[in-house]
Symmetry: C2
């Protein structure tokens, strides 16, 4: 089970946004360490994530908030602070946490909007993680940071690289029917003249072959071409 711990959050919108993302991704266990009271009260009025904030525990210390967890990971935007624990990028941290969560509880810590996690907060962490934002603007909004971390934990790596099956394509015979209709239409429209008609037909055949026409759209295209031909003949 994953516990989300917000340390000293000050903005009710961020607390609400964190709770909404937790509801979106199915991680309902929220603890707040020394939240700014007004912020927490306001956040509780957030729609739909209500149940998460109702159940949220307010703790007096980080130690209390992470009690029972066998893995504690802190989040930081700063890569070059003098860290005493390993620092992973979120892509690395995700698989490690997922594996841990299969058998044991873990906590994910987020610091306050203004200062992030303090060195004391970090001393409770087994390791830290960093969302791969740009160095020039690394600091992320708290609600967005929570959402991204939870997405990383939920994402199904096995899906990456699997593509939607390509729809069945019109075959050579289908394409030739289209070519014939289009050629006849162009002859009746004056696009093709006697002298060059043979090379034009080749051009049209190649044009049609370069299209990717899904089998399911073929009859629609043939209907359109027949209608235009009928008009061109009239």
């Amino acid at each position: 089970m994953l516990r989300i711990v917000l340390v000293a959050p000050r903005n009710p919108l961020n607390i609400g946004a964190a709770a909404r993302a937790m509801s979106n991704f199915g991680f309902p266990d929220l603890r707040l360490v020394n939240p700014y009271d007004v912020a927490f009260t306001e956040a509780r009025s957030a729609v739909r994530s209500h149940y998460i904030l109702e159940q949220a525990q307010v703790c007096a210390s980080v130690g209390e908030a992470v009690s029972g967890c066998t893995l504690v990971a802190g989040t930081t935007a700063v890569g070059n602070r003098d860290l005493h624990v390993p620092l992973y990028r979120l892509e690395q941290a995700g698989p490690i946490m997922r594996e841990h969560l299969e058998s044991s509880p873990a906590a994910l810590l987020f610091g306050s909007e203004k200062f992030g996690l303090s060195n004391e907060d970090m001393s409770y962490c087994n390791w830290l993680l960093r969302i791969p934002s740009r160095e020039e603007h690394a600091s992320m909004n708290l609600g967005q940071a929570v959402a991204i971390c939870l997405y990383e934990l939920k994402r199904d790596a096995a899906l990456a690289g699997t593509r939607f099956p390509t729809p069945e394509m019109a075959d050579a015979g289908d394409l030739e029917r289209m070519t014939a209709l289009l050629t006849e239409t162009l002859q009746h429209s004056g696009y093709v003249n006697e002298r060059t008609s043979q090379s034009t037909e080749l051009k049209i055949r190649r044009l049609v072959r370069r299209l990717r026409v899904p089998q399911g759209d073929l009859e629609t295209w043939l209907g359109i071409l027949r209608q235009i031909l009928w008009k061109a003949k009239g």
Copy 2:
């Protein structure tokens, strides 16, 4: 190059949050289709993402917003709508978009907070993508959805599964020095009695072997044990 297109956004905080995430992840190209004017004006006052909103183009139609893009992907929370285009999960969409972006421009469309993308908006899309949120609460906050999609595009799949190198561990000799000091301390503290002293020594040896003591911490531990032993002897 990736263009982010917000269709009919109404909440200035969401527009600002989208711009902040774009700055965090380094995708500065923003277009807004029929934004609620007040919202856009308010959002422009957002700190740091200012430059993205200053440069943002306001468009009258989705067609105008996606012009020049050779891949247009729409986002949707609804999986079971009668969709006429392929629907990917974000994990699948990420690699496809990244590959496309290596050579060609693409657009990522987000609908309004209340209604999402309309069927007409979707008709401009080559395919749709869905963030893997819970079915029971699929609808995400706009700013968080933008942040998650951009993270998926930036994440480095090659890093997943690579772990921080394990620190070098204390070797058998080091552990035996710890065992000896701890045993002697416990003898002086009355923890070990004559009769059971041999089996206790075995217990302590096993206890110490089950610890994972980093080589770099060894001298600190030995110093602690020596100090305690000194005190116990006194």
